[in-house]
Symmetry: C2
Subunit: 95 residues, 2 copies
């Protein structure tokens, strides 16, 4: 394999690692938000806030991913985070 | 809204921004890899390398996202990056 390819792959691995860390950081913050909302008796899923986050992400998007791709990827992340919040909630109900 | 919730949401927005930046950085690196592979006449899609990246991500995963979620989210990112490479390829073919 060429050195250039090897170098680019190392960059990719580094970025993957940072993405993993940030996704889990994000998940942990969403769990904390779920906790605060539970204490306040507020509904956890907030589509307006989600839409607002997506709009700001698209506004900040400089590519190469197009806006549709960014929306798609973040919706997946949002959904996974919400699923995690709901699992936490179920655990509480089962105790 | 409580200060605590507001603070957590600000953290979320910061993390979203960093994720956006990293995803696009990743996409740009994948585009460069596509370019190098094109010059070398190598096939772009490399399922072994993809599996290898997924395995390492799962090994490095400390949660709160479970391994299945990490696999799912990264597969989406890999797919979007590959789609982008293929769009680049089509553009070249159309010129």
């Amino acid at each position: 394999m060429s050195n250039k390819l090897e170098e680019l792959r190392q960059q990719l691995d580094e970025i993957n690692g940072k993405l993993l860390e940030l996704m889990n950081q994000r998940a942990a913050v969403v769990q904390q938000i779920g906790e605060v909302k539970k204490q306040q008796g507020v509904n956890k899923y907030d589509p307006v806030r989600e839409q607002d986050m997506l709009n700001r992400l698209v506004q900040a998007n400089t590519g190469p991913f197009d806006d549709g791709t960014i929306r798609h990827l973040f919706k997946q992340i949002f959904k996974a985070s919400l699923d995690l919040q709901q699992q936490d909630q179920k655990k509480v109900l089962l105790v």
